[in-house]
């Protein structure tokens, strides 16, 4: 039957790999390396920490809460949900020059933009200008998919629907007259969002693309009329819309509203009295939220953040302390490695 085959097993390969003898480097974390290393790292960290701390200290931040919870607040009147088209004024003063460029943020607290169902409630196809999705939005948009007349909502979904719609005007009181501080609304959203990710349908005029659709229920105006002053800032590439659509990571967040870069205020807000005119539309009291306005300038590290500088200082000094302890330990035990 099957012929017996005498198979001669060949000798195993004598290579470095098969014999587990690949040339190898064994790291030696001896005191001679670790102590100077720790000192170096410590010094570097302390250096960075100092830089961060100083930078952070140099950043001016001004926060103004305008929710209107307190009776004394000028916006108390507006916080009643039954009051429509309410405008309130918030007066504040700046003692010394608020160095520019000043960034104007609005902030919300206890607002869960990172809620999962909220987050998925949008249609990226629609937002990239796909006209098919205009007529039949993705079902993730539910319950803001179709209105009661079964017309598609564009832009659909909770995120778009709940877009922040308070508007602000800042005036400097110069000799008793209000002088409007010009806001720059460009460049507040990510460049890629504005130029690549979000696209309007290539239909001119833009409003024709929205035929047969309805605006989100909460919105006062349709998407193509978001910014009447600048036709290029409408539709899905409206900068405020883009900023809103980038969901915040935490329930207390701030979003960039405008920059103050122009005219007399390019160098910053000079000392003086200011008045903030707020078109109060956005309800937050129902979920115990707060609204605020934040004026801040930024540095190379971004906005004011004490944490980083302190953390670097702590870790840096910890490294130094550790290296000192190690030095003592090794001095006492006479560097057992080097024996």
């Amino acid at each position: 039957m099957v012929k017996q085959e005498q198979e001669i097993a060949s000798r195993p390969d004598n290579t470095a790999f098969t014999q587990q003898r690949l040339p190898a480097w064994q790291p030696m974390l001896s005191a001679g390396i670790v102590i100077p290393g720790f000192v170096l790292i410590g010094l570097a960290f302390i250096g960075i920490g100092v830089a961060l701390f100083v930078t952070s200290q140099s950043i001016t931040v001004m926060e103004l809460d305008y929710t209107g919870v307190e009776r004394t607040s000028p916006c108390f009147r507006c916080s009643d949900p039954n009051v429509k088209n309410c405008v309130c004024q918030l007066d504040f003063s700046i003692a010394s020059l608020f160095k520019g460029p000043v960034f104007f943020y609005y902030g919300l607290t206890n607002y869960f933009q990172n809620y999962r169902r909220y987050g998925v409630s949008k249609d990226d196809d629609q937002l990239s200008g796909d006209l098919d999705s205009f007529t039949s939005p993705s079902d993730t948009c539910s319950p803001y998919e179709y209105d009661s007349n079964n017309k598609p909502i564009v832009p659909c979904g909770s995120v778009a629907n709940s877009m922040f719609n308070d508007t602000f005007k800042l005036y400097q009181i110069v000799n008793g007259t209000k002088k409007q501080v010009p806001f720059d609304g460009k460049g507040i959203a990510w460049w890629t969002d504005y130029n690549v990710k979000y696209r309007n349908p290539s239909v001119t005029p833009l409003r024709d693309a929205f035929n047969g659709t309805v605006k989100p229920l909460f919105w006062p105006r349709p998407a193509y009329e978001l910014d009447p002053s600048d036709p290029a800032n409408n539709g899905f590439i409206n900068q405020d819309f883009l900023v809103w659509m980038r969901r915040a990571a935490l329930p207390d967040f701030r979003k960039l509203y405008r920059r103050i870069t122009e005219g007399d205020y390019a160098q910053g807000l000079p000392a003086g009295n200011y008045s903030l005119e707020i078109a109060y539309n956005y309800p937050v009291l129902s979920f115990d939220g707060r609204k605020k306005v934040v004026l801040s300038n930024v540095s190379w590290m971004g906005g004011k953040n004490e944490f980083l500088g302190i953390a670097y200082l702590v870790i840096g000094s910890l490294c130094i302390v550790m290296s000192i302890i190690m030095l003592i330990v090794y001095a006492k035990f006479k560097f057992p490695e080097e024996e």
């Binding site: 039957m1 017996q4 869960f112 990710k197 115990d288 870790i315």
Partner: protein, 1128 residues
């Protein structure tokens, strides 16, 4: 005429079957299907066809059957459930995240199993379609092998393998024998002789016969049956059939031109097929640890999900939080039952956190084991130039178990010793004859005899050696012509090397065995005359009788019985006055480590012979209890013999046996010798292997010590056990774990000796309570002894001992090593079974988990390979759990900040790729290449093995450490970024980062920390480690750019579009990433520095090293003393 014969057979059956009627398990086969068809209704019995099916699947059932089998694995099933939950319930992550890895794993496994099955199909087909010749009605018909039916007469030619189990009817050799090798069955490559059924017709066409035999059973060496041959007008002749008539499927025909046989067992009923069965799966201790850890992580997973679900509903019960205006629920959500919603929420959390138990861990562990085992086969140190083979790995599941061995059970013959027998001396009638050395060989044989007396006795003794064996002479031509090779090169083939040594020994003294020819044995005597003896009966050797005999008739007509066997089995059967003179010699030889055999003979008178002959023939014909009946007859015949002399055969120690044993003991491994040999021989081997030292106090528990004085054996056993227990256990200083070596500690060193008979008394004591307490006493004594010797063990007792130790307190890891068929039971029983590719066939190798050519390789296998494998896999397991804990913990923490809405922190791509791509390769490379201590050091410092003993790296201590590390890292990652995001304006243009940036920063820190943590642990940086570690990190960066750089058309949401690039444009993000990575690794670095692994270790190692050295030195001195004294 034909029918009458048939009726005769029938009648005869009724008669014989009348007795055996109850035995349904016998079958009747008509040779060539020629039976009494005409008169009586002959219903051919249904037997299975000759198809061998070793494959598991067919094309049709592959998919369902394979999937079913795969999902029977608990892990796969778990992942399937998770996947299904993701499909059915609205969950945070898409089903792809868990479906893709599962699909990958299932597909790869299915392809692997499918390929293996295809190979089996191919092999099956090759066997099943092989053309064979069948004799049908006088014609030779070529058929496919699978078409052979039971009862077919099959013709097989030289060098072909038998297609099914055949009864040999006809051989082309004159003497009705054929030669067979069973190399593929049990690995024994010697030629075995098989015999045709006596008195069958030369013309098979006219043979009318029926064979009655037992139903198929797997024992290769057992077969009983008989053949009723119908001769014209005569009473049918009945012939007994035994294993010597049965040719097994798979064996090969040798030295015989062709044979004809009748198929008795076919296909799956052949003995080969019955023996082919998957070995029971052995599971390693590491796997048990993994399962325990898995359970912990499963609990963590469930409790995380429970906590989140509970908190979610508590939180939602506050006004305004359940459904803020900006996040209205859909109609369906509002409609769902509250409790159902709770349940789906729970499931969603489970899905969100399920990555804590990764699919990929199983894949990585399997890969590590599979690839890692190649290093054993590749190791050139395991290559033996003699047999031209290296080590063999039969299972890769137990690699790490090699690093955990606490008990080694070793066979003596062939394992500790070479099983290369050499005739050393003999003792005839009380006189000692010693063969001197090679130089005196030239002077002629007779002069090399020392002492010497009566020539007659000498010649009788040498004739006995020449006749009393079952050795075959190699070089016997096919035609029976004896080729005379030069004396020294004459090859002998025998199943036992002792016999060859004896025949060769006799040859050196002038009596040469020329071979067996047509039932007569040829001997060339000192005067170069040929003597012929007719071989009448062979009373085979068996381990119970421990002797074998032949009955021959000399030319002069005398009937002689020659018997050789162990002293204990011969002495009671010979005249006592002869015993004393020889006993002394035998005992002295035994203490010198030689294997001794006593030779006796007896002249049978005509009546005696007739009686014995009849008894033997009758017993051989018996269908039932044949063994027992034969045994009785043997015992009757082998009595009243006279002792001629004794032989001493040396079995040399294996290369480096002593060094290996010493290294094992140094590694804290207890070595037990389990042997079937007698106590004295085994003891001397133990001394020679340094298992017993000069100062070792031996505690003996043998039949001999039991018979000292006391009235009852039971009582004596009890007393001795208690006494030894007091000595070895109670009075012994408490055993210090770790470095203290038994000999270096001041305490006594004990060795324990027990024999098979006493062991069975201990294990099967009459009263139940005694039995248990004896067992405990015995175990405790043994565990406190340096080494234990169990002699006179039956194979099953070996397994019993292994089982006893295996199941004792602390369930220590056991290893059995052996080379013979008698070690198979203990090899299968132990946690790790090692076969030695020795001389006693391949059965041990086939049943082992690992096979090595020599005993000396055990040292490297355990101390180097085992140690490394254990460290590697232990680290792999711990690291895997760690890295997934700190992967998922931030995601869990994020739930507290997103309203418990199951919002994933990381993007789906990161969730999926984390375990598959970003962090899997470095740990795989580590677990294949790591050598925390280099191999030479491991080999030189056996005590290093103790540091990982008792699963040291996978106990709860290290596990808790790793878990804490994971928790620490997870907390650090999450909260570090959380504090950074207290002001999300992180770019110098004042723009803010969103939730995906948050997750990406955490993930980046995570990937870098986890990889660098492994880099810190790596002590052996080869270029592969460098490539894989830095490559993985580079790949992560590259992938993130790539993934975020393109609008992916198949994705519904472009969540990560430019998130990574934007993150890198922020200085703060960079700084926080660096800070968190360093902060996470800082404790690790400190630990590495403060642990000072080299300081105390190096010193310790060196200390031990010198210690062992001085000790070996003294030992050799001490050891040589008894050797010298015994040479006098």
């Amino acid at each position: 005429k034909k029918c009458r014969g048939c009726v005769g057979i029938r009648r005869c059956y009724c008669f014989t079957l009348g007795v055996d009627e109850r035995r349904v398990d016998s079958r009747t086969i008509y040779v060539g299907h020629r039976a009494c068809s005409a008169t009586e209704a002959f219903i051919p019995a249904k037997f299975c066809d000759n198809r061998i099916v070793s494959s598991k699947y067919t094309v049709w059932n592959f998919l369902p059957k394979n999937l079913f089998e795969q999902f029977r694995r608990i892990a796969n099933f778990y992942f399937l459930i998770i996947f299904l939950v993701q499909v059915i319930v609205d969950t945070p992550t898409s089903p792809v995240t868990s479906g893709l890895p599962l699909f990958f794993v299932i597909t790869v496994t299915a392809i692997k199993q499918g390929y293996e099955d295809w190979l089996r199909h191919k092999a099956d087909n090759e066997v099943n379609k092989y053309p064979v010749t069948v004799l049908e009605n006088g014609c030779r018909i070529r058929k496919e092998s699978e078409k052979i039916k039971v009862g077919d007469v099959v013709e097989v030619e030289e060098d072909e393998t038998f297609p099914c189990d055949l009864i040999l009817l006809q051989s082309s050799r004159d003497d009705g024998t054929c030669f067979v090798t069973t190399a593929s069955l049990d690995g024994e490559s010697n030629h075995k002789t098989h015999y045709t059924v006596p008195d069958t017709e030369k013309d098979l066409e006219s043979l009318y016969a029926a064979i009655e035999c037992e139903q198929p059973q797997p024992d290769l060496y057992k077969f009983v049956g008989r053949m009723h041959i119908d001769r014209n007008n005569q009473e049918p002749a009945v012939r007994s059939l035994g294993p010597e008539n049965l040719l097994l499927k798979g064996a090969t025909l040798k030295n015989t031109q062709k044979i004809c046989g009748v198929a008795v067992y076919t296909g799956m009923e052949t003995k080969m097929a019955l023996n082919y069965q998957g070995k029971s799966q052995k599971r390693s201790a590491v796997e048990k640890s993994i399962n325990a850890f898995l359970l912990v992580y499963l609990c963590i997973l469930v409790s995380k999900a429970l906590v989140c679900t509970t908190l979610k509903y508590v939180w939602q019960s506050e006004p305004g939080q359940d459904e803020p205006w900006y996040n209205e629920k859909t109609q369906r959500e509002k409609d769902t039952n509250r409790y159902l919603k709770m349940f789906t929420d729970f499931l969603s959390f489970m899905v969100l956190f399920n990555f804590i138990i990764p699919v990929s861990m199983y894949v990585t562990v399997e890969m590590q084991k599979f690839l890692g085992s190649f290093f054993i086969t590749w190791d050139k140190d395991f290559f033996d130039p003699e047999i031209k083979e290296g080590a063999l790995v039969n299972t890769s599941d137990l690699n790490e178990e090699l690093g955990q061995v606490e008990y080694v059970f070793t066979d003596k013959t062939g394992t500790l010793t070479q099983n290369n027998m050499e005739f050393i001396e003999c003792c005839i009638d009380g006189f000692q004859y010693k063969y001197r050395d090679a130089s005196s060989e030239l002077d002629g044989f007779s002069e090399s005899w020392q002492g010497g007396c009566c020539g007659e006795k000498e010649e009788l003794f040498l004739r006995a050696l020449c006749l009393c064996h079952t050795v075959q002479v190699d070089g016997l031509g096919v035609d029976g012509e004896v080729i005379h090779p030069p004396q020294e090169q004459r090859g002998f083939i025998a199943s036992s090397p002792d016999e060859v040594a004896l025949v060769k020994g006799a040859m050196r003294y002038g009596f040469t065995f020329l071979g067996l020819e047509s039932k007569s044995m040829k001997i060339l005597n000192r005067n170069n005359d040929i003597e012929l003896y007719e071989l009448l009966h062979v009373l085979n050797f068996d381990p119970v009788r421990r002797r074998m005999s032949v009955i021959v008739r000399s030319k002069s007509g005398d009937t002689l019985l020659f018997c050789k066997g162990a002293d204990s089995s011969i002495f009671p059967r010979v005249r006592q006055e002869e015993v004393e003179r020889i006993r002394m010699n035998v005992e002295r030889n035994a203490t010198e480590g030689y294997r001794t055999l006593c030779v006796a003979y007896k002249i049978l008178s005509a009546e005696e012979y007739a009686q014995a002959d009849a008894g033997l023939r009758e017993a051989r014909l018996a269908l039932q209890d044949r063994e027992e009946r034969l045994m009785t007859v043997y015992n009757q015949v082998e009595t009243g013999m006279s002792l001629i002399g004794a032989t001493a055969v040396e079995d040399r120690l294996q290369e480096e046996a002593a060094e290996t044993m010493e290294a094992l003991q140094g590694a804290g491994i207890k070595v037990w010798v389990l042997t079937g040999d007698k106590m004295e021989t085994a003891k001397s081997t133990c001394y020679a292997c340094r298992l017993f030292q000069r100062n070792t106090e031996l505690l003996e528990l043998t039949v001999r010590t039991l018979e000292d004085g006391q009235p009852s054996r039971e009582q004596r056993l009890h007393d001795l056990l208690v006494e030894y227990h007091k000595k070895a256990v109670q009075d012994a200083p408490p055993v210090k774990a770790g470095v203290t070596r038994s000999w270096s500690s001041a305490g006594h060193d004990y060795g324990f000796i027990i024999d098979g008979a006493t062991l069975s008394m201990v294990l099967n004591s009459s009263s139940e309570s005694n039995s248990n307490s004896y067992k405990n006493l015995f175990l405790q004594i043994c565990q406190n002894c340096t080494s234990v010797l169990c002699c006179r063990m039956a194979p099953l007792q070996k397994a019993q001992i292994v089982k006893l130790v295996k199941n004792s307190k602390g369930s220590p890891i056991t290893l059995s090593i052996g080379d013979g068929a008698n070690d198979v039971s203990m090899i299968l029983e132990a946690h790790v079974g090692i076969g030695i590719k020795g001389k006693e066939g391949r059965q041990a190798v086939r049943n082992s988990d690992y096979a090595i050519p020599k005993l000396k390789h055990l040292k490297k296998l355990l101390l180097a390979h085992g140690h490394l494998y254990y460290v590697r896999i232990a680290h792999l397991v711990q690291y895997f759990f760690y890295k997934n804990l700190c992967f998922i913990l931030p995601q869990f923490l994020y739930q507290f900040f997103c309203g418990y809405s199951q919002q994933p922190l990381y993007d789906a791509a990161y969730l999926t790729m984390y375990n598959i791509c970003f962090t899997s390769m470095p740990i795989l490379a580590y677990s294949l290449l790591e050598q925390h201590i280099c191999m030479e050091v491991l080999l030189d410092n056996a005590p290093l093995y103790r540091e990982i003993a008792k699963n040291a790296m996978l106990r709860w201590g290290p596990f808790v450490y790793w878990t804490f590390l994971g928790v620490f890292h997870g907390l650090l990652f999450f909260f570090g970024v959380r504090f950074l995001f207290s002001n999300p304006a992180l770019q110098d243009n004042g723009q803010v980062f969103g939730n995906w940036s948050y997750g990406t920063i955490v993930f980046t820190v995570l990937v870098f920390t986890v990889t660098l943590k492994l880099a810190l642990d790596t002590r052996h940086w080869t270029w592969i480690n460098h490539f894989v570690i830095w490559g993985s990190l580079a790949f992560y960066v590259f992938f993130s750019f790539f993934w975020g750089g393109i609008i992916w058309p198949f994705l519904r949401q472009q969540r990560l579009y430019f998130v990574f690039a934007n993150m890198l444009s922020s200085v703060s993000a960079w700084l926080v990433i660096i800070l968190l990575i360093l902060l996470s690794l800082l404790p690790e670095i400190l630990l590495v520095v403060f642990r000072k692994p080299r300081g105390p270790h190096a010193r310790q190692v060196q200390l031990n090293h010198t210690q062992t050295h001085t000790h070996t030195h003294t030992h050799t001195l001490i050891l040589s003393a008894p050797l010298f004294s015994s040479c006098l």
